[in-house]
Symmetry: C2
Subunit: 284 residues, 2 copies
């Protein structure tokens, strides 16, 4: 296999099975045809048509939209059509820097094809024999991707806090990284893709951070979401990404981005170089 297989796996969305989800003139997501039919039960909230689903135009502002949508979502969750309710409000906006149109429960996002934002942090150590990267193995009892490899710290981006603030919070919760170290994380770019999981569509953007750690620092999972941490030479990490699907799907992209930015994947030797650079931002 090749690094590019991960870019392809993260960009497997086929709009044929979906119809656009609109709020006024804006497309804010995609809904599977089967879910669209369920939404006909709430005509005061959703307008379901052959080619689209729209929020009822009478829902004129952020609070009205957010409140109106919440009850149907809870009903769908109670029927098992939306699983793993988290009580985490996510913003509904195609651009993190634009005012969100409403808030929506995190678990509902992929069902409605809502863009989710996240932060991914690659923690690394410079040793005499080269760069090493901290890798997390997700807890075996996590509801999503149990036991898979992951970036040192990663998390969804909830409403109401900044990206860097979220990084510092997740650093503490997931890896026991104290604030004074986490604060040194550097924002280094953004990755975008459009993935099609069984429950819907994920047109997501991940903000990437690098954090150089002192050699003596040992992470520990503070919140039980991580089973184990490994400190591996960057060449070993690159091999696992290139040859396997052991990492959670989007974590591969955050590592490929790191490898490109640090010259481990180099344009003189990687035939897919241009396709990788473009593919890491293939979401629109």
């Amino acid at each position: 296999m090749a690094y590019l297989d991960h870019v392809r796996a993260c960009n497997d969305f086929d709009p044929a099975g979906f119809r656009p989800f609109r709020a006024g003139a804006d497309r804010i997501g995609y809904v599977r045809h089967a879910l669209a039919d369920e939404l006909r039960r709430w005509p005061g909230v959703f307008r379901v048509e052959e080619g689209s689903v729209s929020l009822h135009p009478g829902l004129g502002d952020f609070e009205a939209r957010s409140r109106a949508v919440d009850a149907p979502l809870r009903q769908l969750a109670s029927e098992g059509l939306i699983e793993s309710w988290r009580d985490e409000p996510y913003p509904v906006t195609p651009d993190w820097h634009k005012p969100p149109l409403m808030r929506i429960e995190r678990a509902a996002c992929p069902h409605f094809g809502i863009r989710a934002f996240g932060v991914h942090l690659n923690g690394f150590v410079r040793k005499p024999d080269g760069v090493h990267m901290w890798i997390a193995r997700r807890a075996y009892d996590k509801p999503t991707f149990p036991g898979m490899l992951d970036n040192m710290v990663a998390g969804g981006q909830p409403l109401g806090i900044g990206l860097m603030e979220n990084v510092i919070k997740e650093c503490g919760e997931e890896a026991g990284i104290p604030k004074e170290i986490a604060r040194k994380a550097v924002p280094v770019g953004m990755i975008s893709y459009t993935h099609q999981p069984p429950e819907g569509c994920k047109p997501d953007q991940m903000f990437c951070f690098d954090l150089e750690l002192p050699e003596e620092f040992m992470p520990h999972a503070a919140d039980g979401e991580v089973a184990e941490f490994y400190l591996w030479p960057i060449g070993k990490v690159a091999d696992i990404v290139r040859e396997t699907f052991e990492f959670k799907f989007n974590c591969n992209l955050a590592i490929i981005d790191f490898l490109i930015r640090r010259g481990v994947i180099a344009p003189d030797t990687e035939p897919d170089y241009a396709a990788l650079v473009h593919g890491l931002r293939a979401g629109q």
Copy 2:
């Protein structure tokens, strides 16, 4: 103004004034309608139609195509329709890693909308008061963009040598950087855009390199292409890029990419962050 203005300035191509330039089934460029009419003079080389210009299908391989095209180009140059002939053969290929379809004189590339490849190197110094970047001012007698600001080292990518090899060569020629230092340049990514200069279309890809230099190193223009070098704090460089058009158009993008990768442009504070990340690779 905003950083994004440079992304827009580099992506100002409007295909309306052009017709596609094809070799077999592949589109390899774009030709202005006026140049297409001139090419009717060589029916054994170019097939000029209402909606396209194609290489004559009888030109079956790399050598045949390269030789056939050379004479008309020299004629056009002698008539002043192609200026600044450089005797530098460029590959004709949409992807640096694919075998080129033919070679073509560098000066002809924009007239035919051929993708050109280049290397751009940001030289920087870590000082106690922060990162400083080496900036070149182009010689005032250079045929293109005289007197404008530029990356420390940059150059077009000719046929027959590697990208890193080209970086090392240009480092020596343009800034007097010895091989043992230049070799430490790190490939860090690629930028793509589709620019429309007066002479045609530039759907180019720039391979970016970072080179950390020791504080005592002083560059000097070995080949007369640089008037002067400056070592400026990164904040000053960022301000000039954000507020002015003093840099040659595509050098702005190489610096914006550096600023993003090093957290100077940060997602918590830059409202155009996602647009910049995508815009630096807007060429396809």
